[in-house]
């Protein structure tokens, strides 16, 4: 695999993740940390279908991944939102870890070792660029869908719901179904990204989707600017590009890996305290 192309594809996939997470978190105001689990659901669904049913075309599997992610997300949101928005935070964390544990214990998912040798539909030297084109288009589409949702009357309703949910409801809007809808859309997009991921990298394992992955996506959103349309794009680029910059320093891997982690976490902490609005955010937006 050509390295710069792989990076670019990763950026595209993570842009989808960050943008969809921002929709749920930054715009919808839904405190959830389980975004990677929907990424995982999409990846595993697409991957398993590709391995077990090779006749089915790839894009169907990716769509199936999205669909499964949507169903799972409605299950989570439907039950936990009934308690309160705050509860969703812990509930989503527990849900993510529980589901990952389940995946690790089941045979057909490949267990803790993961699902490998996912058949590739594209082969040959043009595989990389072709995937880049597909993932890039998907990323662009995702950002535009988010933009379309948050501008215009629906976005207005989302803002109102976030500002004063009680008044919003008393004006005739079903806040619960709106939250579930936003959640489902965001998680569905993450599921789609998962499908693309499974097909390109041809290997998925539970460790790729745990709490550290949650933190990574959260970092992208916070850094780029929560509640802005293009912030997640900036965040995804930064978070994937900075480690590459450090690679040039030729440090031994045992130093480099934690070093990258230290730089990210420091960046997030710095932004959290000094500029909570993120790079693209406007100051004064409540976080």
């Amino acid at each position: 695999m050509d390295y710069p192309i792989t990076i670019a594809i990763s950026i595209a996939i993570y842009t989808i993740l960050a943008a969809s997470y921002n929709l749920v978190l930054g715009y919808g105001g839904l405190s959830t940390v389980a975004h990677p689990i929907f990424f995982a659901v999409g990846a595993y669904t697409a991957g398993l279908m590709a391995v077990d049913f090779p006749e089915i075309p790839a894009f169907v599997n990716v769509i199936a991944g999205m669909g499964t992610a949507v169903v799972v997300s409605v299950l989570l949101a439907g039950s936990s939102l009934r308690v309160s928005g705050d509860y969703l935070l812990i509930a989503s964390l527990g849900f993510q870890l529980g589901l990952l544990q389940l995946i690790k214990n089941l045979e057909f998912t490949g267990g803790p070792g993961g699902l490998s040798a996912i058949p590739s539909t594209l082969v040959g030297p043009m595989r990389g660029p072709a995937f880049l084109a597909i993932c890039g288009a998907a990323a662009v589409a995702c950002v535009f869908v988010v933009r379309a949702i948050v501008n215009g009357p629906y976005g207005r309703a989302i803002s109102a719901m976030r500002d004063e949910e009680l008044a919003f409801t008393a004006l005739g809007r079903n806040a619960m179904s709106m939250k579930i809808a936003i959640f489902a859309i965001g998680c569905g997009m993450a599921g789609g990204a998962g499908g693309l991921y499974a097909y390109y990298f041809q290997y998925v394992s539970p460790d790729q989707f745990d709490v550290l992955a949650s933190a990574a996506i959260l970092t992208m959103v916070v850094l780029g600017g929560m509640g802005t349309v293009y912030g997640p794009v900036v965040g995804a680029v930064l978070l994937l590009a900075i480690p590459q910059a450090i690679t040039f320093l030729q440090l031994p891997p045992s130093i480099m890996a934690p070093m990258q982690g230290i730089i990210f976490t420091l960046l997030v902490l710095a932004f959290l305290f000094l500029r909570p609005a993120g790079i693209l955010g406007t100051k004064g937006r409540p976080i």
Binding site: S84, A91, G94, Q101, N105, S254, M259, L269, I287
Partner: protein, 296 residues
């Protein structure tokens, strides 16, 4: 298979193994009760506690009490700093729950990354051996570690109970837990309560990490899993109910231990999460959420 001796052994070992997790859960649940915060920064504190004691014992060759003292100083110190320079700042800004979550989680990760840089990723234990001398009492194997663990936990829980019920500081904690603004009207400082509970939790963390670290292997990432078991115990015990959380931890550990008789060991972890799942999806209303009433 179900002979009384075997059951008794499982019971004993189960409770002993649960001991450090009870300590962690209690620290976590107490913090949640008083501050209303799911303080994931405690996983960073767990890392600090273990590696400080590890370095003191193995790197500096200090005796045990000095190592533990050092552990307490660094962990409590970190807890205090986090509270004063981090959490209170966010509270003053009226930040939302998500900000606190991001802060506490990312801070823990930062601490863990630094520790990884310094100590590497090799599994470590406090002593060279994780085995401790065993007595056979009535046919049941009881190790020194078991006794230490259960003893420390029992003392810790009793001390906490006495502290919360009968000491002024402890009663202030309960007052702030119930209603911080109201407590302030009565002259009780919420900020002080938050700092006190940070230190109390740190003590429990040091005790727990000593137990875990002398009985098994720790890598820098271990605390992330440990804090999750604290979360599960807290959720199942009921938010705001510290001693119920302790019981929940014991209960969960026993379920896991006894389940060996029925299911393969690889499913044990899943059992834990199964409980969590069921609580979240089927009985969310059974979990009471605290109302966050920040005092300024």
């Amino acid at each position: 298979m179900f002979e009384p001796i075997i059951l008794a052994q499982i019971l004993w070992t189960g409770i002993a193994t649960a001991a450090p997790f009870v300590l962690l859960t209690v620290g976590f649940a107490l913090t949640l009760k008083v501050t209303g915060l799911w303080n994931f920064a405690q996983s960073g504190q767990m890392a600090i506690a273990f590696y400080t004691m590890f370095y003191a014992l193995n790197g500096l060759g200090l005796p045990l009490f000095a190592a533990v003292a050092l552990g307490v100083v660094f962990t409590a110190g970190a807890a205090y700093l986090i509270e004063v320079c981090g959490l209170q700042v966010l509270r003053d800004r009226q930040s939302g729950n998500l900000t606190f979550f991001i802060f506490t989680l990312i801070l823990s990760e930062f601490i863990i990354y630094v520790i990884t840089l310094v100590f590497g990723t090799e599994p470590e234990t406090l002593y060279r051996s994780i085995l401790s001398p065993i007595d056979i009492v009535g046919g049941i194997a009881i190790s020194d570690w078991d006794k230490t663990g259960i003893g420390m936990t029992a003392i810790g829980l009793i001390a906490l109970y006495v502290f919360m019920r009968y000491s002024k500081e402890g009663q202030f904690l309960t007052a702030v837990a119930d209603n911080a603004r109201l407590a302030e009207l009565y002259g009780i400082s919420a900020r002080r309560a938050y700092r006190v509970v940070a230190i109390v939790a740190a003590l429990f963390i040091v005790a727990a990490m000593y137990l875990i670290g002398s009985h098994g292997w720790i890598v820098p990432n271990s605390p992330l899993e440990l804090v999750l078991s604290a979360v599960i115990g807290t959720l199942l015990g009921g938010i705001g109910r510290v001693f119920a959380a302790a019981w929940a931890s014991i209960f969960l550990a026993l379920i896991q231990s006894f389940s060996i008789l029925f299911i393969g060991s690889r499913w044990q972890n899943l059992l834990l999460y199964g409980f969590l799942f069921a609580t979240i999806i089927l009985f969310p209303r059974g979990v009471r959420m605290p109302r966050f009433r920040w005092a300024r």
